[in-house]
């Protein structure tokens, strides 16, 4: 599904990723852990095409397509979703209208017709119910006045509506209480199937109690320095990065 080779990324002239390799196959869930400043968020932005993240070397291939040639919105159209660490507020634009505009843009990219208003409403109501979101929240402006947990839950509703084939979840678990964590994990697990893949970026092992990854990678100093299965995450939690011989926050 996703193949990243020797990826070098600069932001504002600063080298953040320095030769990162990552291969994610259909149906796999990968987790990336790493100390602050290792380049975890940069990796998610580079995959999704955020302007300002300059790829100086390497390649990102998604479903056989050279991803680096596509704009951010086109990558979304290809079926990539990014769950943000800090979802932004968009005053005056209701969740419903935002999602409707987003879904129809993605459908247009795929040469599909617009979703009829009635079908859209049915879908969004059922998704909100699945993720235990109050339907009133759908009428409120995107993330405006939402608590940290509500914002993350909203990301899960958006993910569920947009139905991506590959999701990058950037510290979606941070700032969540245990109930919200369960709901987010539930959202991720619902997506899990042989055709879809997920990349979870997290600081803590606790999310991985709910979402069991096929692979765990440690990102430090712009590179993947260690890969393994779930036991690697547990070891990390116990021994810390230093225990694995990884310097914390080299930058």
């Amino acid at each position: 599904m996703l193949e990243i080779k020797n990826l070098h990324v600069e932001v504002g002239g600063q080298k953040i990723l320095k030769g990162l390799n990552l291969n994610i196959n259909d149906g796999e869930v990968h987790a990336i852990m790493g100390p602050n400043g290792a380049g975890k968020s940069t990796l998610s932005y580079a995959i999704c095409g955020k302007p300002g993240y300059e790829i100086t070397e390497g390649s990102v291939t998604f479903k056989g397509k050279n991803f680096l040639e596509l704009e951010a919105s086109e990558r979304a159209g290809e079926g990539v979703f990014l769950g943000f660490q800090y979802p932004v507020e968009i005053p005056g634009v209701s969740n419903i209208n935002f999602l409707r505009a987003a879904i129809n843009s993605v459908r247009k990219y795929r040469n599909e017709g617009e979703l009829a208003a009635g079908d859209f409403l049915k879908l969004i109501r059922s998704k909100a119910a699945e993720l235990e979101m109050d339907p009133e929240m759908l009428k409120r402006a995107v993330n405006v006045g939402f608590s940290g947990g509500e914002k993350k839950r909203n990301e899960m509703v958006q993910m569920s509506m947009l139905d991506p084939i590959f999701a990058v979840l950037d510290e979606t678990d941070s700032g969540l209480d245990i109930d919200a964590l369960r709901i987010v994990a539930d959202g991720i697990n619902r997506m899990r199937c042989p055709e879809k893949s997920i990349l979870v970026i997290t600081h803590y092992q606790r999310l991985l109690d709910y979402v069991v990854p096929d692979f765990v990678h440690v990102l430090a100093n712009g590179k993947i320095v260690k890969s393994g299965d779930k036991s690697l995450a547990i070891r990390l939690e116990k021994e810390g990065y230093a225990g694995l011989g990884i310097e914390e926050n080299v930058a």
Binding site: P51, S73, P87, I90, V93, L99, R100, N104
Partner: protein, 484 residues
Amino acid sequence: MVSTLETRQAVEEISGDYKYGFVTDIETVKAPKGLSEEVIRFISAKKDEPAWLLDWRLKSYKKWLKMEEPDWAMLDYEKPDFQDIYYYAAPKSADDRPKSLDEVDPELLKTYEKLGISLQEQEVLSGVAVDIVFDSVSVATTFRKALKEKGVIFCSISEAARDYPALMKKYLGSVVPAADNFYATLNSAVFTDGTFVYIPKGVRCPMELSTYFRINEANTGQFERTLIIADDNSYVSYLEGCTAPMRDENQLHAAVVEIVVLDEAEVKYSTVQNWYPGDKNGIGGIYNFVTKRAACRGLNSKVSWTQVETGSAITWKYPSCILQGDGSVGEFYSVAITNNYQQADTGTKMIHIGKNTSSTIISKGISAGKAQNIYRGLVKVMPNAENTRNFTQCDSLLIGDECGAHTVPYIEAKNPTSQIEHEATTSKISDEQLFYCLQRGLDVEESVSLIVNGFCKEVMQQLPMEFAVEAQKLLGISLEGSVG
């Protein structure tokens, strides 16, 4: 905001061009170039006006000769050469004063079709009566019969001068006096056409009324004058729209709008201003120097101004309310968008004279490119105005880092019981907001349009349904190319 959908489609279709920029090739009658007593007599004679009105014009002209163009606005422009302008231009065919739509020059009807304005009365769907003003004359007014049955007078101001002299004499210049300000006085001397509306006592106008202003001729100024009178217990919703061809030289549009609202009456006045804004380098475009004022004379009377200003090279405009009647209400909802080299100095004046009067001001300024956007507003509470209230909210949105937004509020409270609130914010469309939208699949234009429409929502929802969709499309189009 379901219609952001339409906004997006419009953005795709139109790809950045001002789609109203064409010129209609039509035989025209003009006054000699420049301004003089003879030209004013020429205009008055063309309109077949009564003597008192010619006198009023000439007096205004004499006053204007002694006035100086104001320079307090935060605007930078080359002052017009008043002798290099045609003050009257009209299609030759309009000379015969067509009695009905069938007699109107087909070339003119085609022009409005192209502009998307329906003049066909049988198209009840549109349900809006239109007065169309082409350069210096009103060329057609629809639904007049249906309105007349209700006692509503809806005609051009030139006709009103001939047919309703009592109302005209009583109210013309009663809200904006002839000597009010430089451009209003110029307008009083040379105004050519515009709309006259009278809603009789107890009548709720059965449909939206609107005027569509079109400048066509080169080197021609448009000096329209509109007078709306809402008698006791009446209601009317009125909308104006405007467009002009693309030209390299600046053209002057100096209008005056007067509204009189009597006991318990309400007037809702909406503007979608889309004059040619000039090109990307700031060449050409309309100078929009307009005086709009409403007098709430009656008890509990109400005026609501809603404006969406997207066009014009320069906008200088402060739709105001004189809240004279006890319990009267004034509202001002404004969206002003400036892109490229456009400049807008706009806002309102709320003058509280009566007791228990209240006013609301919501202003949304959006600035992109190298444009400057200024909110300038006055809230004045007179000594006898007990228990008045005002709430003002001015929000500015900047797109890019070469544009400017300025807020200049004036508050004069002479009564200690008044409550005045003022809130102001300035924000930018952040890269984070933009990327968030992009990541969800929206392209750059769609994202900007969505964010801007959200920013303007409080104002947009004040527009009559028929025009809200059109206005939302405009927001997207005006900002094209402003990001990325």
